[in-house]
Symmetry: C2
Subunit: 154 residues, 2 copies
């Protein structure tokens, strides 16, 4: 399953998203953007990724319409990267990564960062529900194929 | 940021989860497990991944406690892989990948698979909310550090 084959032929939206974003650098850069980072040097420092790899990932994020680019200061030479609306709609993905890690990858008493709202309360746990708000378990779900897409709203 | 450094030193749960699962094969195998697959040969066929890579990923998923292993049939030689409760708690992650892909990576009219409940209704859109159910935007959120973890509940 090469990049091209996956993206073009699969009818599975999980596969298409994983094909685009299933890379630790992409996900860490997007996390940093949600934390307010916008400069190449800040992403580089935060992730420790090699500069050529970071440049390639930022290019992919721009091409995918997840980031947009603007001068960091009026008349300045530095370019800043910002999440577009399409990029901001990745918030549930980043929060789901965060919440699973919080729950399963920390020992009691270990220091952990948390995402809080304006009242300094942690965000609610993401739950998969039906349209009436009833929590659904994996056993209650099935994947069906051959549905016609509503189209790209980006 | 090597695998070991990230996992041991970061206080960010997003980073720890990405370090473990931020790999397209891991995510595709977990997706397939949610679709009911349990055999090596089925994962191999579905993803097209090389057998040695698949074997390594399945070993990581077992070691991480995301999969457990049992004989596929009573007295049979084949081993089946099943999601543990820790694995099943990845459902919001898989659904968030799916929903973002559905919304942004398909053209109108393209064939797409969908996840439906027992009544054949699509699952509700995942939303990041506060504890009262109010939807939160990225701008309303901040990351704070140095909180003590409640511990690994896996």
């Amino acid at each position: 399953m090469t990049h091209e084959e996956t993206f073009v032929t699969t009818t599975c939206p999980v596969a298409r998203t994983v094909d685009l974003l299933g890379d630790r650098w992409m996900l860490m850069i997007i996390r940093d953007a949600f934390d307010g980072m916008s400069r190449f040097s800040d992403f580089q420092k935060s992730t420790g990724v090699a500069k050529n790899v970071l440049a390639a990932r930022l290019k992919m994020l721009l091409e995918a319409g997840i980031f947009s680019q603007a001068p960091a200061n009026e008349g300045g030479a530095y370019k800043a990267y910002h999440l577009t609306e399409k990029g901001k709609s990745l918030l549930p993905l980043i929060v789901s990564l965060r919440q699973w890690g919080e729950e399963h990858l920390f020992q009691e008493g270990e220091s952990v960062s948390r995402l809080v709202d304006a009242a300094h309360q942690p965000v609610a746990r993401l739950r998969v529900t039906d349209r009436n708000g009833n929590v659904l378990t994996p056993e209650q779900l099935q994947r069906i194929s051959g549905i016609s897409s509503y189209g790209d709203k980006s």
